[in-house]
């Protein structure tokens, strides 16, 4: 005998994520979910973003790592509210789940914020899979990772609205062909906004910051 069920396995996760989005929307807060490999430059991008516009965009940060509070410490100098989530201490989850985001949101002063940046655990696979209640995912990909990453991790690039191609200052030292990388990004998702950035030198950061401001302005209207 066969019994039809048709039930989503992650229904409980999705419900929690939807509630997170309702909480954020109710406070007029826009949320970015930053995903990328370990060392792709997510934290430095946030540092540059806050140097340029922390007073204007009123950010809060949820830092996800398996272990350590190193990233949160790097961002402390901006005086922005930060909640560090550790999924470890030695193994831990490879992504942030909506229930962890809920707890973190409750620790942030959402009334004082316009935007929350969730810096997900460094990983191009699992964080792509989970909606945590964000308005959009942004992939941070460094040129040192190679041209083929969009083709190898298509879900991350399908789920994102924008991609930061970071560390372009390294291009003279690499065999990477930037045009091939951009073609591969477009093969997976031609609708992505693409930013060529060096968070180290500051190249391209202004365009990204404008994009962030644009999203917040659109959210307010």
């Amino acid at each position: 005998m066969e019994i039809k069920i048709v039930k989503k396995v992650l229904e409980a996760y999705e419900k929690l994520a939807d509630e997170n989005q309702q909480l954020l929307a109710g406070k007029g807060v826009y949320a970015f979910n930053l995903i990328g490999s370990p060392g792709s430059g997510k934290t430095l991008l946030l540092e540059r973003t806050f140097e340029a516009a922390a007073a204007e965009i009123k950010p809060g940060v949820i830092e996800g790592d398996i272990a350590t509070t190193a990233d949160a410490e790097r961002l402390q100098r901006f005086g922005v509210p930060i909640v560090q989530i550790n999924t470890g201490p030695f193994g831990g989850d490879c992504h942030l789940a909506p229930n962890l985001i809920r707890a973190a949101l409750e620790d942030l002063p959402l009334d004082e914020l316009s935007v929350v940046f969730v810096e997900n655990v460094g990983n191009l696979v699992c964080p792509a899979e989970f909606y945590v209640g964000e308005n959009e995912k942004v992939v941070v990909l460094s040129v040192a990772e190679g041209e083929d990453k969009p083709l190898k991790y298509p879900l991350a690039f399908r789920e994102a609205k924008a991609v930061i191609i970071n560390k372009v200052d390294l291009l003279p030292h690499l065999d990477l062909d930037l045009d091939v990388l951009k073609r591969n990004v477009a093969a997976v998702n031609a609708g992505l906004d693409v930013f060529e950035v060096s968070a180290k030198t500051g190249t391209g950061v202004a365009a990204w910051v404008d994009y962030v401001k644009g999203r917040l302005a659109a959210g307010r209207n």
Binding site: M1, E2, I3, K4, I5, V6, K7, K8, V9, L10, A12, Y13, D93, C94, H95, A97, V125, C126, A128, E129, L151, P154, L155, R158, A186, A187, V188, N189, A190, G191
Partner: protein, 119 residues
Amino acid sequence: MHELPVVHSLVEQLRAEAERLGVDGKVAVVHLKLGALTTFVPEAMTFYFEVLTKGTDLESARLDVEEVPVAGTCRRCGEAITLEGLPFVCAACGSPDLEITSGRELVIDSLEVKDDGAG
């Protein structure tokens, strides 16, 4: 590695469903639909399923994973498309402007239950 917590959720849901339907201990096959665009690996799902159901009411149940292709409609020409691989473009007109409607599934589709003849 992220299949483990997902299969854990699956097993908990199956227990609740089997109890609700009064078929606990009788589930022979669990039919799961898995979208091709997800990052979950069928072999890892079935392995964790075996591990997590061992010694429980679901021990004799087998997890059958059916892959659902990435499919949708082209927003430019209206063609129904099924993608076998990259790139994400319409096979008919080449447009990348696609509405993807399937390929992200992770759904318990149905249960096959042993008929124990007891009526």
